[in-house]
Symmetry: C2
Subunit: 211 residues, 2 copies
Amino acid sequence: MTEPEPRVLPEATLTRLTQYLRALNAFEAQGTERTSSGVLAKEAGVNPAILRKDLSLLGSYGTRGVGYVVTELAEHINRTLGLTKDWRVAILGAGNLGRALSGYAGFASRGFKVRAILDTSTNLIGSGVGDLVVEPIGTLGEVIRREQINIAVLAVPGEAAQELIDALAAHGVKSVLSFAPRPLRIPAGMIVRRVDLSTELQILAYHAVQS
Amino acid sequence: MTEPEPRVLPEATLTRLTQYLRALNAFEAQGTERTSSGVLAKEAGVNPAILRKDLSLLGSYGTRGVGYVVTELAEHINRTLGLTKDWRVAILGAGNLGRALSGYAGFASRGFKVRAILDTSTNLIGSGVGDLVVEPIGTLGEVIRREQINIAVLAVPGEAAQELIDALAAHGVKSVLSFAPRPLRIPAGMIVRRVDLSTELQILAYHAVQS
DNA sequence: AAGTGTGAACTTTTTCACAGCT
DNA sequence: AGCTGTGAAAAAGTTCACACTT
């Protein structure tokens, strides 16, 4: 148990860890104190073996013959994922998507705080979005410093995305979630995750035609 | 060349195919007639070997020593993905996210037409969203029949998602893109893809802490 | 000469199956 | 007796490298 903890966890494992966490939170909410790989895996929709393998990558926190203590395991995954830190998010783009995201409940939970929303359009600048006011993209550097932004969400049209990624990098923001429908050149040291709605639909179309 | 075409393409291949398609469309737009695995792979941000391997799964459409004809290859990928068919989309949930999605340009392109938007809230029912009017979820079956919906987008709170999936299944809609932040029990024959924003943020947090 | 198509090697991820704790 | 933790096996996915076609 002198941990094997690898430098970096596989992407697939990370995705599953967030699902385990969600299930564990549900268990906590309903007062369940202990669980097992079988029960938890079922709740998260995965196979128990991979769950145990995933958890073994973070070190061992279960008890053989017994299972896992819900709060302990949740706490441990939280720590591993960095969810004990405070995340301050700026949303770039105050169009429909940007505004929808700024109010998205999932963002508010787990220490992700939307602290700013920016746009280029003079129509939008100055207007209110929830309890924020849309600021000009030109003030990006200032906003990042003022609010100590450490995560940015890109909800702008494809054309604008690359230059904003570069600007974010220049201002020291290293983590970006992009909704721009195009591949981006990622500056060194930056982590960009993309959510691509048209890709999702196209893959659905393929499966739908199959059946 | 009497095709090896597998019954079903790997998920990772599908994702890349949509990227190739996007790059090919850009080439078409700028009048480029031919390309090669090297050029196309660079544009799509992948390695040329996997690109050729992916394309070989759909049968061979290149010319050795020469490369690929842009329009031909695009057409071929389009056919494979089922993008020659007409896709009629209903959006379930007319909150911020649902409304943002209904106007999302990526949906309008490539034959995905948003034909209906539904909600439970009497505040929203009857209000306009783009050129659609929000209809009551209670009329789901009727709307699906009337508009011949074949893809649904779930933009509702987690609690409502499962029963809507079941209702969609009952009305013969087999393809769903879900934004609900929870795992769903998928009725037989249905394909559900999930986009989970809090999972994305949590994975970003992990990587941000790493560095 | 150039660039595809593809077996073979390699790498990563998942699943199996069981030894080892409690 | 029960359930974890984990090597070993299997499967899936990626990259290499080169024969083959134009």
